[in-house]
């Protein structure tokens, strides 16, 4: 699909195109909207069937958990927090990559994000929905949890505990969901209008008209729209940092060694971006293949994402080293013990899975060949997800299972119900992703048109005439 064989990667004098190939605007419309109008092929149905199976597994496990109680899970004393919170942190973290791609890369004017921003935002919303399941179910009585979490006036003057980080989580994750949803929806308004204008059936037209709110592509509206989009991106950025920071506070405000350490906030955020990008990478590789979007999401985009995975992986590695160093430096025996215990105690296997997947394996992305190999990058991204899940597991379970009092130590074993619920969460997430791709445009139509090569008015191009006048004065 390359029109000229310019070496954009090695010759930095050349401005690389965002969208490769030379599709016209109409062709872009067709390419993005076509999957919505035709009946999906058998691969889609097989995939959906698979994800629904996973989802049902989780739903059944949840039902049993509500009926019989949380004794079906592996939680014990002292490991009172186990799979539910690990899964919660895992899924919230995955959501963060979506916001980073759509909001932060927008602020950094990285136009290569336009092809993947819509998909990434949708992934954020679905990841947060999946994550929200866990605070609701983790007490085993979700019908109570939902009500007790929100400060509503009642006759007993019972208010929620505003000083608890678990409550900050409620506000943070709800805000994150709402703002991400609003951000996503605002981005969808012009696309709904495109769909409305191309709709054939009466019902489809009605639905698209409703959701597009009557958008007319007027520039007087675009003016406000763009400012609002910039503001939303500008707010979503500190929001995404704050959400995983607040999630990290769940652990860091305690006194438990291995939990109470000041680097948790940026460490969790970096880890979230790390795992989220890996998940986006995994999904994108599959989606662009199935829906023929290789030129809207070119290899360059995937390579840049791999570089970000490498970068955030190394930030996570830095945090591991700092924790380890300060654990020794502090002279605090329980702290030192915790870190030795993590690596060589009963959960050594989890620790080394985490370390290899998060620190060693992403180093392969130093090599360009690997960064550009679809199969290998898929595997590495999947392993990063595994590693990041294990990181949350290691943090939560090792610190709880062996803390201050040796007589309280106990080993935590997850049960089949725990695993089933985890599998179900993956099922929920991927089901939502598949449904989204089928129902809504997976690439933002307006945004991608804006970065085609002839999409903007031409600026007066500046040349430097005398690159050679460099003699000393």
């Amino acid at each position: 699909m390359h029109t000229e064989s310019k070496d954009f990667d090695n010759d930095l004098r050349l401005e690389p195109p965002i969208v490769e190939g030379s599709r016209s605007l109409k062709e872009i419309d067709d390419a993005i909207i076509a999957p919505l109008n035709r009946i999906p092929n058998i691969k889609f149905w097989i995939a959906l069937g698979f994800t629904l199976t996973l989802l049902m597994t989780g739903a059944v496990a949840l039902g049993l958990s509500f009926y019989y109680g949380t004794g079906l899970w592996g939680n014990n004393n002292p490991v009172g927090w186990a799979f539910p919170i690990v899964n919660f942190v895992f899924w919230v973290g995955i959501g963060h990559a979506g916001t980073l791609i759509s909001a932060i890369l927008f602020l950094l004017r990285q136009r290569w994000r336009n092809g993947i921003a819509r998909f990434a935002e949708a992934m954020t919303i679905f990841a947060v929905i999946t994550a929200l399941i866990f605070p609701l179910i983790h007490t085993g009585r979700p019908w109570v949890a939902a009500v007790y979490l929100l400060p509503y006036p009642n006759q007993h003057s019972l208010w929620v505990n505003f000083t608890s980080p678990l409550l900050w989580d409620v506000f943070a994750v709800s805000t994150y969901f709402t703002v991400s949803f609003v951000f996503w929806y605002v981005g969808l308004i012009p696309d709904f209008a495109v769909l409305r204008d191309r709709a054939t059936g009466k019902i489809k037209k009605l639905i698209y008209s409703l959701f597009s709110l009557g958008w007319r592509f007027s520039n007087r509206h675009w003016k406000h729209y763009e400012m609002m989009y910039l503001i939303l991106a500008g707010m979503a950025t500190p929001l995404v940092l704050s959400v995983h920071t607040i999630v990290s506070f769940d652990f860091a405000v305690s006194i438990l060694p291995g939990w109470h350490t000041t680097i948790f906030p940026p460490y969790f955020v970096a880890g979230a971006i790390f795992s989220g990008f890996a998940m986006v990478q995994n999904s994108l590789i599959v989606i662009r293949k199935i829906f023929d979007m290789e030129d809207l999401i070119p290899m360059r985009t995937l390579e840049l994402m791999n570089k970000i995975i490498l970068l955030t992986g190394m930030m996570v590695g830095y945090a591991y080293s700092m924790e380890f160093f300060i654990a020794w430096y502090s002279g605090n025996q329980p702290e030192t013990f915790t870190f030795v215990n993590r690596a060589f105690g009963p959960y050594w296997w989890a620790y080394w899975i985490m370390f290899s997947c998060n620190v060693f394996i992403p180093q392969l992305f130093w090599f360009k060949k690997i960064r550009r190999n679809l199969f290998v990058m898929f595997i590495i991204a999947a392993l990063v997800n595994v590693g990041m899940w294990f990181e949350r597991f290691v943090i939560t379970v090792t610190s709880l299972s062996r803390d201050f009092l040796p007589s309280s130590w106990a080993y935590f074993t997850p049960t089949i119900t725990d695993f089933a619920i985890l599998i179900g969460s993956f099922g929920l997430f991927f089901t939502l992703v598949l449904l989204f791709v089928r129902v809504l445009p997976a690439v933002s139509i307006a945004e991608i048109k804006a970065v085609t090569s002839k999409g903007q008015p031409s600026h007066a191009h500046i040349h430097i005439s005398n690159g050679k006048s460099n003699e000393a004065h």
Partner: protein, 393 residues
């Protein structure tokens, strides 16, 4: 077409440079015009001579306002309504409020700004604009760039505008008319959609308000506390075979803090039960009252065995006799509690303290036996006792 009302004359261009030039030219001469592009074109705001959007000011103001409200709410709940010491933190634990304040700022700033933008700045939803469903709209939503000048503009002249468009290089020029139906539409009071919609909203609102008041606020009478699925006294029970809702306590049930009386024969009571009371004046007066109420009808006012029951029950023995003088306190107590022979037990009528007081009083009577009393007192007491018909409590 001729008697339709014109809304605007539109022109389409197929390059961003073309529309920019057009916008520049037209913004100088006309005020009621607009540009439609499938995506925002850089520099169009300046070409149309638009002022920058000030939506940011609204966002930060409303965000900070709501943040202050939230801070006040947290302050009120934690410091005024129900102050609690949690984790040793001060009542006004400001560092812990910061995360929530931050989140609320962002939440309210974002959501309310978007709502304001959509409803106030765009005046959306509006699917009845004349441009909708026109060929122009279909073109600009896809791959063309459009500009239009409204007929309402003071300088509008169809021919002039058309020639201007041609000059600027428009690839297509078309007029857009108001929809006849839309223009002539007047609201109907009993429009079925409106009625059904209102009823539906009313039903939904009532239902959700009720659910809120019942399940969340637990507000009477909506909480139906008066009707509870519990077993009431006297109600027939489906649960128990004998259909009684009221149940007897199982054997061996004792009240909290209560030591049961475990002596089942007078000998063990005599041997092991000792009088825990001291025969103070108050105690003896209590004993006198209770003795006079409960014991004197059979045993006589002075425990002399003079029954007032006129043969309906055999008289109680003279408690001043030598045998009774040798009785242990515990033996007396046991008799009062459990009864003896035809005398029933007074466990249910006389409290333990009172029983001991009676025992002390009997001892007093025993000691007083044979000791002559002062004359006046004897007469007064006798008179008192003869006139004593009411229970003295």
């Amino acid at each position: 077409m001729n008697n339709e009302k014109l809304y605007a004359l539109t022109a389409l261009f197929d390059t961003p440079d073309g529309i920019m030039k057009a916008a520049d030219a037209i913004s100088g001469q006309y005020s009621r015009f607009d540009v439609n592009t499938p995506y925002p074109v850089h520099g169009m705001d300046d070409a149309m001579k638009l002022t920058p959007s000030r939506i940011g000011y609204f966002t930060i103001s409303i965000g900070l306002a709501c943040m202050s409200l939230m801070l006040y709410f947290i302050f009120w709940t934690n410091n005024v309504d129900y102050p609690q010491i949690i984790g040793g933190k001060p009542f006004f634990a400001f560092p812990t409020y910061v995360p929530i304040m931050f989140e609320i700022t962002i939440l309210t700033g974002a959501v309310l700004s978007v709502a304001m933008m959509i409803s106030v700045l765009f005046r959306f939803p509006n699917n009845a604009h004349p441009l909708h469903d026109s060929g122009y709209m279909k073109a600009v939503s896809s791959d063309k760039y459009g500009i239009y000048i409204e007929a309402k503009d003071s300088n509008f002249d169809y021919a002039k505008v058309e020639s201007l468009y041609k000059e600027l290089g428009a690839i297509e020029i078309s007029p857009v008319y108001y929809d006849e139906e839309e223009l002539n539409w007047t609201p109907q009071t009993w429009d079925p959609k409106f009625v059904i919609g209102t009823l539906g909203i009313a039903a939904f609102t009532s239902f959700s308000v009720y659910m809120h008041m019942n399940k969340v606020l637990f507000l009477p009478p909506f909480n139906w506390m008066m009707e509870q699925p519990r077993a009431d006294y006297g109600e027939e029970s489906e649960f128990f075979a004998d259909t009684y809702s009221m149940r007897v306590a199982p054997a061996g049930t004792i009240a909290r803090g209560f030591m049961p009386y475990t002596y089942d024969n007078p000998d063990s009571a005599a041997k092991y039960l000792s009088n825990p009371t001291v025969p103070t004046e108050e105690n003896l007066k209590l004993g006198q009252r209770k003795f006079t109420s409960y014991c004197s009808p059979c045993h006589g006012n002075l425990a002399e065995g003079a029954s007032r029951l006129r043969g309906q029950m055999p008289p109680g023995p003279d408690l001043r006799a030598e045998m009774y003088q040798n009785f242990e306190d515990g033996r007396f107590y046991h008799t009062i509690t459990k009864g003896k022979g035809i005398m029933s037990g007074y466990e249910a009528q006389i409290t333990r303290e009172e029983r001991w007081a009676i025992v002390n009083y009997i001892r007093t009577l025993q000691k007083a036996y044979g000791v002559p009393a002062p004359k006046e007192e004897t007469e007064a007491v006798a008179e008192n006792m003869d006139n004593n018909t009411e229970a003295s409590n």
